[in-house]
C-alpha cells in the first residue's frame, strides 16, 4: 500500500529524541532565568533574543518532535493501519476542540490556550494510535 505524506520509520526515534531533548533544555534555560514568552506578556517582541531562542529550543522542538512521531510510518503499512490512523486523528480533533471550546469559554489566557492547542491533538493522536496498535499486537500474541 502506498502511503503518502508519512515520514520514514526511523523518524519516529528522531521525534522521540526531540521530545526528550526539550526537557533538559527547558530545565537548563529556566535555571538560567529564561522565561517562556507565553508566560511573559511583557516579553521583548524582537526575533532571536535569548527568550525567543529559548522558546524555539523548547516548545517548538517538542511540537516538531511530536509531529514527527505522529506522522512516521509503521514498519508494515496497510489499509487497517490507515484506518486506525484516521480514526485516531478524528478522536484527536474531537478532544482538541472540546478542550479548546471549554478553555475559550472559561479561560481568558489566550497564550496558554495556544500552547495547549500546540500539543494536545498530536499527543492524544499518538496515545490513541499506539494504544490501538498495542491492542492489535496483543490479540496477535494471544493467538500465538
Amino acid at each position: 500500500m502506498k502511503s503518502k505524506f508519512l515520514f520514514p520509520y526511523w523518524c519516529r526515534y528522531l521525534g522521540w529524541a526531540l521530545v526528550i531533548a526539550h526537557v533538559p533544555m527547558s530545565i537548563i534555560g529556566r535555571a538560567n532565568g529564561m522565561i517562556n514568552p507565553l508566560d511573559n506578556p511583557l516579553a521583548n517582541q524582537a526575533l532571536f533574543t535569548g527568550e525567543h531562542l529559548f522558546f524555539i529550543c523548547t516548545t517548538l522542538v517538542m511540537a516538531v518532535g511530536l509531529f514527527i512521531v505522529a506522522f512516521s510510518r509503521e514498519k508494515v503499512e496497510d489499509e487497517q493501519i490507515w484506518q486506525v490512523r484516521l480514526d485516531s486523528l478524528r478522536w484527536a480533533i474531537f478532544v482538541n476542540y472540546l478542550i479548546l471550546l471549554a478553555s475559550l469559554i472559561f479561560i481568558y489566557d489566550i497564550a496558554h490556550i495556544l500552547e495547549i492547542n500546540l500539543w494536545v491533538p498530536l499527543f492524544f493522536f499518538i496515545i490513541r494510535f499506539r494504544w490501538v496498535m498495542f491492542r492489535l499486537n496483543h490479540s496477535l500474541s494471544k493467538e500465538g
Binding site: Q80, L136, S139, L140
Partner: protein, 66 residues
C-alpha cells in the same frame, strides 16, 4: 460478513504471517479479518482470494443483515 480464511489457510497449510506477506499487509490485519473484527477493502479481499485460487464468494460470505 464472515470468511473462510482460517479454513482455506489450513487447506493450503500456510500461517497468518505467510498469507500476510503474500498480500503485503501486516499479520495483525490478517488476524483481525479472520476474527471478523475488520472488513478488508475490495482490493485486499480479491488479493486474498487469489492466493487461495478461489472465487471471492467462496472466501468471503455475506451474512443476514449485511
Amino acid at each position: 460478513m464472515k470468511n473462510n480464511i482460517r479454513v482455506e489457510r489450513a487447506i493450503k497449510n500456510i500461517t497468518q504471517g505467510e498469507l500476510a506477506e503474500q498480500v503485503n499487509v501486516s499479520r495483525q490485519t490478517i488476524n483481525t479479518i479472520e476474527s471478523n473484527k475488520y472488513v478488508p477493502s475490495t482490493v485486499l479481499a480479491l488479493k486474498i482470494a487469489r492466493v487461495f485460487g478461489k472465487p471471492l464468494e467462496e472466501v468471503f460470505i455475506l451474512e443476514e443483515g449485511d
